[in-house]
């Protein structure tokens, strides 16, 4: 089994097609949508967690690519500049998924678990030293 949080970017041509429904039916994948939006010019994005066996997952993501949908792994889109971060904790207060968390109460270091990130962007706004970036974030 494989499970990844992914951002799909739809263009005007694909945003009105039942892509995700096809993906689930044809490739036996399950999905859990975290956020989605369609913009005024009809392009849009979906952030979801996609789960299934490895072969289905590969085929499914290939199906998305074949349909001109831009795929980005969320865990690859969040970047923290460790030279800037001073482990204050402002971000921990707002992170909804404990991707940013103080695991070790002895050192009080703020850890980033990229696999838990859902690209909500709350941390980007609150970080007082702008240490966190979400690349390609819509």
């Amino acid at each position: 089994m494989i499970s990844k949080k992914i951002m799909l970017k739809f263009n005007k041509a694909t945003s009105n097609q039942p892509i995700i429904s096809n993906l689930a039916k044809t490739y036996n994948l399950t999905f859990n949508i975290m956020s989605a939006q369609i913009f005024p010019r009809k392009e849009g994005f979906v952030i979801f967690e996609l789960t299934g066996n490895e072969t289905d997952f590969q085929k499914g993501t290939q199906y998305l690519k074949d349909n001109g949908i831009n795929i980005q792994l969320i865990e690859e889109s969040i970047i923290r500049d460790d030279d800037k971060c001073y482990h204050c904790g402002f971000c921990v207060a707002v992170c909804p998924t404990e991707a940013l968390i103080i695991d070790d109460k002895k050192t009080m270091k703020v850890n980033l678990h990229k696999d838990r990130c859902i690209a909500c962007g709350y941390c980007v706004g609150v970080c007082p030293v702008k240490a966190i970036k979400l690349s390609e974030f819509a």
Binding site: H87, V126, P128, V129
Partner: protein
């Protein structure tokens, strides 16, 4: 009065001969637990304490040298952030919370406050080039009315950090009882008491370890922003008479330090411009204070634990902005650091704003400096105003 009696001079002599025992405030807890205060006072000479947090009451005094022709600069801008020019010709003071003239502020709430005085200070210390604009009205001795130049900290005659209030002894715990998310200097506070924030390094923090200001005062040399500086006065709002617990530790703000230091010896790792969402620009800064263990009472005070330090919980959604005198009870730093506190029977996640992680690092750095004989302790010139509640050994006796 005390069974152990040491002086700063004697400790410095030990440092000089490489014989001083220096530990940080966390290590001192275990030492006192194991040995007791008398043996701890005999064996430990210095306890290093530290804090790293956002401290708005900070700024820099600069002198940019005379221009040709000369100018009496009444308006000064550094990277478009206004500095105060109501001083002599080429002196200016840039405050940490000043922002650019065209900053949208909170026009679109919550504002981002991308660049302010704190960032100017960080950029200077990092050695970056900044644009300086000076405006004057022209006098016979200072005829120029406008000067624009690119400068780095090396071009400045003086660049002195001058912070009226840092290292607050204790601080409030913040919650929000309203129905809306609020954006405060205590961070983002979610509605209906969904989270709590706090801003102290607790057991590591300088004034928690010397709650009656017995070993530090005007003239005490400190770690400041990666360089050295001094405590120059009691901080603004310094109030030693706040209510204290049975260890003599105040349960709210209380003492504070005014500090100064040469920015030319600082390091931007330990001093950073800050943008606080919806609130404003500020400066995050590291301060380390060495506490000489002069006697068993100081050993007792420096063994303070997070669980011995109380803090009141305040509502920043309703009460605080209206200056309503109300609180939501007490918690302590052990609970705060655990990540959960109880507010009116409800379990609430708690997160810090002050970096304990960096406080530990600074306490280690300061220890290193002392061991390497790069840093000696100073006897203060004068004590800070202290509490009427202090009597020698009173709090030690109360805890046996």
């Amino acid at each position: 009065m005390f069974k152990v009696n040491k002086t700063v001079e004697e400790i410095n002599e030990k440092i000089k001969h490489g014989e001083a025992v220096i530990v940080n405030a966390e290590e001192m807890i275990d030492i006192v637990d194991k040995k007791g205060i008398i043996e701890a006072a005999k064996s430990v000479d210095v306890v290093t304490t530290a804090t790293f947090g956002t401290m708005c009451s900070s700024g820099a005094l600069i002198n940019f040298g005379h221009t040709k022709p000369k100018i009496k600069a009444s308006e000064v801008y550094l990277n478009d952030v206004a500095a105060y020019g109501g001083l002599a010709a080429v002196d200016a003071y840039i405050g940490a919370t000043a922002v650019k003239a065209k900053d949208p502020l909170n026009a679109v709430h919550p504002g981002r406050f991308e660049y302010g005085g704190g960032h100017v200070i960080e950029d200077l210390i990092a050695g970056k080039k900044l644009k300086l604009i000076a405006k004057g009205y022209g006098t016979d001795c200072y005829p120029s009315k406008y000067a624009e130049m690119e400068i780095t900290i090396d071009d400045l005659k003086q660049a002195t950090l001058a912070n009226p209030r840092n290292a607050y002894q204790n601080y409030s715990v913040a919650i929000n009882t309203t129905d809306k998310t609020i954006y405060t200097y205590m961070g983002v506070l979610k509605p209906k008491i969904a989270n709590a924030t706090y801003s102290s390094a607790g057991q590591m923090s300088p004034l928690m370890n010397d709650p009656f200001y017995l070993t530090l005062g005007i003239g005490t040399k400190i770690f400041l922003g990666g360089g050295t500086g001094y405590i120059v006065y009691n901080g603004t709002q310094h109030n030693p008479d706040e209510k204290r617990n049975n260890r003599g530790v105040p349960m709210t703000g209380a003492g504070a330090l005014a500090v100064m230091g040469d920015m030319k010896n600082m390091n931007s790792k330990y001093i950073k411009g800050a943008s606080i969402l919806g609130y404003g620009a500020s400066l995050s800064i590291g301060i380390g204070v060495p506490i000489p263990v002069l006697n068993e009472e100081i050993a007792f005070f420096t063994s303070v634990k997070d669980e011995d330090i109380d803090a009141y919980i305040f509502d920043y959604g309703y009460d605080y902005p209206r200056r309503i005198d109300n609180n939501y009870g007490l918690t302590n730093y052990r609970d705060l650091r655990s990540g959960q506190i109880t507010v009116k029977g409800k379990t609430v996640p708690a997160t810090p704003l002050s970096s304990y992680y960096m406080a530990l690092e600074i306490s280690e750095k300061l220890k290193e400096w002392i061991m390497d004989k790069k840093f000696y302790l100073t006897q203060y010139a004068e004590q800070l105003p202290t509490s009427k509640d202090y009597e020698p050994m009173k709090y030690v006796k109360g805890n046996i």
